[in-house]
Amino acid sequence: MRASSRTRSPDARGTGIPRLLWVPAGLALAFLVLPLVALVAQVPWGQFGQVVAGSDVGQSLALSLGAGAAATGLSVLLGVPLAWVLARSVEWNPILRRLLRAFVTVPLVLPPVVGGIALVLLLGRTGLIGTFLRVWFGIQIPFTTPAVVISETFVAMPFLVLSVEGALRGADRRLEDAAETLGASRWMIFRRITLPLIAPGVAAGAVLSFARALGEFGATITFAGDFPGVTRTMPIAAYIALESDPGSAYVIAIILLAVAIAVLFALRDRWVGGLTS
């Protein structure tokens, strides 16, 4: 490459982006960033403390964080084995594999309210399983905090499963062979070799699941309902607050934005590695 007249390393390339692309790219960036700027600008910072201290915001935040953590934990406990099955099902019937993968991905593309309706039809008082739960055990799940956890797990688990599956596919299976020749049982191989190797994928998946669970609204309000302290998560609280106390709603929004940023920070450069490996 010929050195240009500007002082630049002779091997440096130009960015190669056609100037025409800067316009839509800039618009896209503005589209994504400006709403957040407006949010930050409109928050009643002066009353921030008293809004948080007063109202139900603290209660909703505690509920959101707790339910989100529970949903993430459940996603990891159930999702890692599922990811294992998905990743190692290479020898199966391809149609069966595709079906399995489709089922896992459905909550990702399903509108959350639809997910909520489905959960009601399954676990509601008159639901497929809910009827038996009520009649045999006297258990009613809707309108309880566990219902929130269930709604959030439903939408969040696929993130965990797909992230871990990616990590499993990228893991070197020959290491498992080596462990086998050293006498390790299948459980020991999973616990001591496979799990530590996919830990970054699990962590990335867990962070994404947590973020998704925190933000869940449609399925939660449809299946779990809305009651302060029990089922009124932060997104629902923001929605309710908007009509009677917009300042409160903006404060809730800012808190959720801060959590989102924290999540992104936790992911950092794991973002690409964990999900797409």
């Binding site: 462990a179 020749t181 050293l182």
Partner: protein, 237 residues
């Protein structure tokens, strides 16, 4: 320990691997052949990672493979040193070596202590808490060897143990390997494409081409009287 007596047949897509191996305890047999000749399949069959289509593998008085028997890899007690060594990247050198004993039920402190002994023996004491990625090729190979030998297996198989090293290190590591294998009392099967390994290390040489043995014997004798062009080419300097 008494030796290995194996008659292995494995159907592969391109050919059928068929060979007999008799390796007395305390001796080293090298299986030499071009890539794709079936060397790795032989090794995996011995290790139990692949089940032979037919044949018999007998180690001492234990039947490992027969027409109605297949002892799984984890129960064979065969030491394997893999190409690329396959050290567990998230464990330190001493933890890698202790892995086998722990898998067999040894308490962790005892296993770690034994692993330290092996590191001493191989002159690697200062690398005990080092991760594999920070070890040189030669150091990694010795850790992999120690990891296999700590279980005192009656059979040790090595897959291209020097292939991952550059030419200059290979010579010194080969000499070290000879020394270390000298202290080992079981049967050793060494799989390699490099005849120099066979000449330096092995008591017996088996030449494999497209799944069949074309010549076998003492390395020096095979080199002196090659049976075909490939074998002759192996020993040309």
């Amino acid at each position: 320990m008494s030796g290995l007596s194996a008659s292995i047949e494995v159907a592969r897509p391109a050919f059928t691997l068929a060979l007999d191996l008799e390796v007395a305890a305390g001796t080293i047999t090298a299986v030499v052949g071009p890539n794709g000749s079936g060397k790795t399949t032989t090794l995996r069959a011995l290790a139990g990672l692949v089940r032979p289509t037919s044949g018999r593998i007998l180690l001492g008085d234990r039947v490992l493979d027969d027409h109605d028997v297949h002892v799984p890899a984890r129960d064979r007690g065969i030491g394997v040193v893999f190409q690329d060594y396959l050290l567990f990247p998230h464990l330190s050198a001493v933890e890698n070596i202790a892995f086998g004993p722990i898998a067999h039920g040894t308490a962790r402190p005892a296993a770690i202590a034994a692993a330290h002994d092996w590191l001493e023996r191989f002159d690697l004491a200062q690398f005990a808490s080092i991760r594999p990625r920070e070890l040189s090729g030669g150091q990694a190979q010795r850790v992999a060897l120690a990891r296999a030998l700590i279980l005192e297996p009656p059979l040790l198989v090595l897959d291209e143990p020097l292939a991952a090293l550059d030419a200059s290190t290979r010579v010194s590591v080969r000499a070290q390997l000879k020394k270390e294998l000298g202290g080992y009392g079981g049967s050793t099967v060494l799989v390699t494409h490099d005849p120099a390994d066979a000449l330096a290390l092995a008591d017996q040489l088996v030449v494999l081409e497209a799944g069949s043995v074309v010549q076998h014997g003492i390395p020096a004798e095979v080199a002196a009287a090659p049976v075909n062009n490939y074998v002759a080419g192996l020993f040309e300097h």
